[in-house]
Symmetry: C2
Subunit: 251 residues, 2 copies
Amino acid sequence: MIFEIDQTMLLRMNEEATIASGRTLARRAYHRLRHDIVSGALQPGSKLKLESLVQQYSIGMSPLREALAPLAGDQLVKTEDQRGFWVAPLSLEELDDISRVRTLVETEALRLSIENGDDGWERAVRDAFAELSQVEGGPSGMQQPVSQDTLRLWEDRNHAFHTALVSACQSPWLIRLQELLYQQAERYRRVSLNYSQGRRFIHDEHVAIFEAAIGRNALRACRLTEEHLMHTYDVVRGALARMQAEKSDAA
Amino acid sequence: MIFEIDQTMLLRMNEEATIASGRTLARRAYHRLRHDIVSGALQPGSKLKLESLVQQYSIGMSPLREALAPLAGDQLVKTEDQRGFWVAPLSLEELDDISRVRTLVETEALRLSIENGDDGWERAVRDAFAELSQVEGGPSGMQQPVSQDTLRLWEDRNHAFHTALVSACQSPWLIRLQELLYQQAERYRRVSLNYSQGRRFIHDEHVAIFEAAIGRNALRACRLTEEHLMHTYDVVRGALARMQAEKSDAA
DNA sequence: TGTCAATAAAATTACGATATTTTTATCGAT
DNA sequence: ATCGATAAAAATATCGTAATTTTATTGACA
């Protein structure tokens, strides 16, 4: 028992450490900035004033700019020559776009993964699913409101589960694109979380996908994944719409 | 006649100017470097020594590093913390991967484009096709060896044609990914060009795709595009294999 | 109200200083 | 003598700061 707690604590520490890990200042800044953008701490669409960031993050201009460049590559930051940097804005249109493209990429990657997956893949998927189930807490899990920490943990494990599922597709490019799009989608989930009303039986969907994948039923797994992503889309879209309505009310 | 020559010359100048255009030193360096990588002037897999590049391109260290960052985002340059930058290597495995993912993305984008395309789209496709046909020069065009300049022109117009085809898909993300993957594929085409033996009736394939797209036959256009990309893959793979065989002979 | 010059703000770039990695040289053991 | 480990040296990447260039803002004037 004590052993279990220790492992959990280590895992948590590890996860938190990864927020700003890296060997160079630029990479650490990259991780911090990415976290702050994905979490919504930095307002979507807002100007990133370099001088302010230098002070806020206690960092030099050079590593800061080196950190912003790859964020622009991830489409989390927009940049215009000699006009600076902005946090990439969120919009219903882009959420729509990302959801569709993500479905295209993730179902293809999953299909290939189910075709090619070996025992190691199955084990990785089982492990990731077990960890995710733990935090989703049973068949009707996460119905009740949960803490920010739990949500963080859920995001990590949901990410790990989706990553494990496609990990055997043997296509570095599909994996790279899947990762990119997952991250984009995460932004939308995170900022819309506070506006979500009522939770859906997301765990049941994960169970179904897991069983179809392990059962090597590619067609079914892909169909379920597509539905899963579309349900996510619906929920986030609703929340985002309410959010924007509220904002325009205030104005 | 003189008029025609003038137009051609202007076009050429314009195209050459775009190689290293941009308002900041960093962007100009980005364009030059990208060109040199895609064209193969910079050896795939080779180390990019910053000091050497500073001298070769007559540029400061800061803009050079700013130029390298987005190239890493495009996956044309690999980087490791504290260890520097390399030209991304080429491999048969990655060519395979890129070709498959490109097919996935480009057929989906084309399908949507055919669904959504309006008159403006049709016009853009017709124009791009006309320009491409001009340089491919008729039904059995480009059978005879052609100059480097002509190949450059062909690359530009082939790119423009593929871009026009998917331009109405109304998915910025699909377009971005298509662009990324086209560029990757172009690298392989370019470096393998010198090793290509015998040309195929590529123009016929373009004609068929063009007609299916304009005829709004999405299914057929996608199938033809898939075949087109796979033929390209076969040719480039053959050339690359010969190239690598020759290299290992020399060693 | 619109334009233009002056000023302020901000981004880009140069350059020197520091830290890390890689290579070379040295030493000792087998 | 050769190999492996260790230490010095060189090469290279990273970072901070300041100078330069460009863009945005302000306010006077038409």
